[in-house]
Amino acid sequence: MKKAICLISLAAILVAGCFAMNYSAKEVPIAYDGSGFSPAQLYADPKGYDLEDPDGVADLIVRTNLDRTMAANNVAAVVFDYRGFDTIGESFILLASIAGSYAILRSSKKRKEEHGDEA
């Protein structure tokens, strides 16, 4: 019974993946390929940079960054403003990893002390 359910779900995932691949191959979404974008020029002259070439999300960010955030570093603007909620999650992962390593390392230390008392 379990094997049958597993096989059926795997087959469903396979069919859905094939359908999604077929669908996305027909209508290729507009993506940023990086051609015609010069970070050095943008850094040297942020206000007067020619904004015609970028496309997709990069186009949006490069166009609206200075009006929305006034940050000279676009990456910092993306990390702390456009994706600020994502950064909260990232920093809480650090907190969780420290809690986990605390649990593991403290138990090993305690075990060592117990062994030392026995010996």
Partner: protein, 158 residues
């Protein structure tokens, strides 16, 4: 055992090298955190660079000095403080009638000034503080496993 003895003897060259690089590592990391919004860098990267000072201290002086110089509980409390400051800065938008995490006071000064980016700069500081204390705690925990045996041996020898 030979390797442990080599580490315990603390070569003079290693000690002097660690002492020499330590202040530069701290100052460079703090600069990366401070100027994260106007130059390449940011909170995470600068925090990790500052936390590398822990490794230099351990390499040069051993576990005893490191555990005395750095208060582990203080670092833990300050990591939580950094997280709370970040969340409060992100909630500024809610208090002022905008989205969560929205940049609410950014139009002060010209582009390239340190605080021209508003909350982005201060969020970067908060994340840098959180990362440098958090990585410091992690490194101290690992040094506890590495250096505990050495201390036991020293006490046994004494």
């Amino acid at each position: 055992m030979k390797l442990k003895e080599g580490i315990k003897s603390k070569n003079t060259v290693v000690k002097c090298g660690a002492d020499m690089i330590l202040p530069f590592a701290i100052v460079f990391g703090l600069a990366v955190i401070l100027f994260g919004t106007v130059s390449p860098g940011g909170g995470f990267q600068g925090g990790v660079i500052v936390a590398s000072a822990c490794i230099l201290l351990y390499l040069g002086h051993g576990y005893g000095v490191t555990s005395k110089a750095l208060d582990q509980e203080f670092l833990e409390v300050n990591e939580a403080l950094g997280a709370i400051i970040y969340v409060l800065l992100a909630a500024c938008g809610l208090f002022l009638g905008a989205r969560f995490c929205q940049n609410v006071f950014f139009d002060n000064g010209s582009v390239g000034d340190l605080i021209s980016a508003g909350t982005i700069t201060f969020m970067s500081f908060a994340v840098g503080y959180k990362v440098l204390t958090g990585i410091g705690v992690l490194l101290l925990l690992m040094f506890g496993l590495l250096g505990g045996e050495d201390d036991d041996e020293e006490e046994a020898e004494e």
